[in-house]
């Protein structure tokens, strides 16, 4: 009983220890911490947008042409747009879409790409590999933005559909990344060792190979968060994606761009918001990379 407790205790300690170590590696680069803080702030403000945004109803069906195009002031910190809506409030709500896009796409894309890449990589030299990787190549042969646009053009432009579209063009990158790693990892001596011990294929693919792919996958995920959000912004820039009145960052920039430079705040602030959110995820990604690096 006592022994049990002691070991429990040490398990907790171990996790604490690992966590401390991870944090230590992560926080070595101050910029990563800045990235983390910004990401957390953005997520919080998106989740609690209703409380954070000064004019929550401006994110919905609302226009007030009497207050259109107001420059930044204490009433409207970032000014108002051509519809008389508070830009700050709309940016905060737009984070929702951006995050949904980023997270939604990655949640779908990463497991699919990873599993396909793992299987193809482990089965190198078989028909399964050929089929999987050639399919991947086909999807890879197009710039993501173009493929996403093509798909969006066929379907109704909604946030969900543009997420689907981005997913279709995004998974092959993970498949290829993981495939590359899996093909070299399957020759690693420890994989051979597990095979010789008699471990199952499932074990080898998911327990031996997969954990060693995780660091690059996570790193790519963090960086991709930014890219996906940018792609989403580019899609909404041409009018695909989130539909009005729901705010989307890309739409805000593209619409506001018409009024440059006189009404600069209409597009510059959302553009800065895009840059900040992407930058934050990039910084976070760098930190995650440091954290997951195996060097002591």
């Amino acid at each position: 009983m006592i022994a049990q407790k002691a070991s429990d205790n040490s398990a907790v300690n171990r996790y604490l220890e690992n966590f401390k170590k991870a944090w230590y590696k992560f926080s070595r680069n101050k910029m990563s911490v800045v990235g983390l803080v910004i990401v957390v702030l953005i997520i919080l403000s998106a989740v609690f947008a209703h409380f954070v945004a000064p004019y929550p109803h401006h994110a919905g069906a609302f226009v007030n042409y009497a207050e259109a195009n107001l420059a930044p002031s204490w009433d409207h910190l970032l000014g108002t747009d051509v519809f008389g809506r508070d830009i700050l409030s709309r940016i905060i709500y737009a984070f929702r879409g951006a995050l949904t896009m980023g997270i939604g796409v990655l949640v779908v894309v990463v497991p699919i790409g990873t599993i396909i890449g793992l299987i193809a990589g482990y089965m190198k030299g078989t028909l399964i590999e050929t089929v999987l990787m050639r399919i991947t190549d086909v999807f890879l042969a197009l710039p993501p933005l173009i493929l996403a646009l093509a798909v969006c053009a066929v379907m109704r432009p909604t946030l969900f559909n543009s997420m689907m579209a981005v997913c279709i063009s995004w998974w092959p990158w993970y498949a290829r990344l993981v495939y590359g790693m899996a093909t070299s990892l399957r020759n690693e001596v420890y994989v051979r060792a597990a095979e010789l011990i008699g471990a199952s294929r499932f074990h080898i693919i998911f327990r031996e190979i997969l954990p060693n792919c995780l660091a690059p996958i996570f790193t790519k995920m963090m960086l991709d968060m930014g890219w996906v959000i940018l792609t989403g912004a580019s899609l909404s820039f041409v009018g695909l994606g989130e539909q009005p009145p729901t705010p989307a960052l890309g739409t805000m920039v593209s619409d506001g761009a018409k009024y440059l430079p006189d009404y600069w705040w209409i597009s510059i602030f959302p553009a800065i918001a895009i840059m900040i959110i992407v930058l934050a995820f990039n910084l976070l990604g760098d930190g995650v990379k440091d954290m997951l690096s195996t060097e002591e």
Partner: protein, 337 residues
């Protein structure tokens, strides 16, 4: 070498074939009657019916595909609904315009990126390095359309040294068509002033387009240079008395370029994808804008044509880049990839 090239091409054809199936079926899911769309709502039914037959819309989908593929192989991509011309004609006209931008952009991307990367690595942890890193972060996190807008603002108003719209200035006539690229054609025609004008029109869109990739390339070059700096062979080369400057620009650079160039194929392919944003803003009649217009207007044949051409370009770029990488890195046999 020859065999590997053939193998690669064979594989690419397979990929393109897959792509054609994918794209053909995506483009046929579009709602609406393309023949009716082509002729307008008030066209007489018999003309529409004729067109429908001409477009093979009355046949089963797989037959349509076979016919389409046959046409594609023979350079016939059908007619565009928007421009009402054969898609091939459109592509011949628009593709060179975009190629011009993309090629310049790719050069800016690679040369600029590598240059910044080198400077940054050379002066690690100095203010210069810091500045370049901040710029690369900004480059990576800002979409091309933001850069384009910024450039139009700067050069449209404050500093009107570069034109911000179209391919040529008013009054300048296009050179006789050889390649379709105005810069090349004007040089071929020996018309320097047209060349200068055409080139000036390329500068801003190309740079706006290149910013993201350039930043990326700078970052990759920098980190791979720093990485390689710690390698034994660099120490060895220094120890053998080779001047550090030479070691840096020759012996360190070449291996460090490998990752940059490998990633470049993706970056350059992405240039085509992003080009439309820039073409939109600079009112540049390019291929990407054509493609997007086609997509937004559900112009089937144009969509399929554009995507196939992009696929071919992508695959070609990939092969070229693979060869460059193989040149940079003799360890990589081409069959390996």
């Amino acid at each position: 070498m020859g065999i590997n090239l053939l193998k690669r091409i064979g594989l690419s054809i397979f990929v393109l074939f897959g792509l054609s199936i994918l794209i053909f079926f995506i483009s046929r899911v579009v709602p609406g009657d393309p023949a009716r769309l082509a002729l307008g709502p008030r066209a007489p039914e018999w003309a529409v019916e004729n067109l429908r037959q001409e477009m093979h819309l009355d046949k089963p989908l797989y037959v349509q595909y076979a016919l389409w593929l046959n046409g594609f192989v023979h350079g016939d991509l059908g007619k565009s609904l928007v421009t009402r011309r054969p898609v091939t004609t459109d592509i011949k006209e628009f593709l060179p315009a975009t190629l011009e931008i993309v090629i310049l952009s790719a050069i800016v991307l690679l040369v600029g990126g590598v240059f910044l990367g080198i400077i940054s690595a050379k002066f690690t942890n100095t203010w210069l390095d810091g500045l370049i890193r901040i710029i690369s972060y900004l480059g990576i996190v800002s979409p091309a359309f933001v850069w384009a807008i910024i450039f139009v603002l700067i050069f449209g108003y404050a500093l009107p040294i570069f034109p911000t719209m179209e391919r040529l200035s008013p009054g300048v006539t296009a050179p006789p068509t050889v390649t379709g690229m105005y810069t090349v054609d004007s040089l071929l025609a020996g018309d320097m002033s047209t060349f200068v004008d055409a080139f000036k029109h390329l500068v801003l869109p190309a740079i706006a387009l290149a910013m993201g990739g350039m930043a990326q390339a700078a970052r990759i070059t920098r980190s791979s240079m720093l990485d390689n700096m710690g390698k034994d062979y660099i120490a060895a080369e220094k120890a053998y008395g080779i001047p550090e400057g030479l070691v840096f620009v020759k012996y360190l650079l070449k291996p460090s370029l490998i990752p940059t160039v490998s990633v470049a194929s993706l970056d350059i392919a992405a240039l085509f994808g992003n080009a439309f944003l820039v073409e939109l803003i600079f009112n540049y009649p390019g291929f990407s804008r054509y493609g997007i217009t086609a997509m937004l207007n559900k112009d089937l044949n144009a969509i399929a044509g554009v995507i196939m051409i992009l696929g071919i370009i992508f695959v070609t770029i990939n092969i070229i880049i693979d060869f460059i990488v193989a040149y940079l890195d003799p360890r990589i046999g081409l069959a390996g990839r």
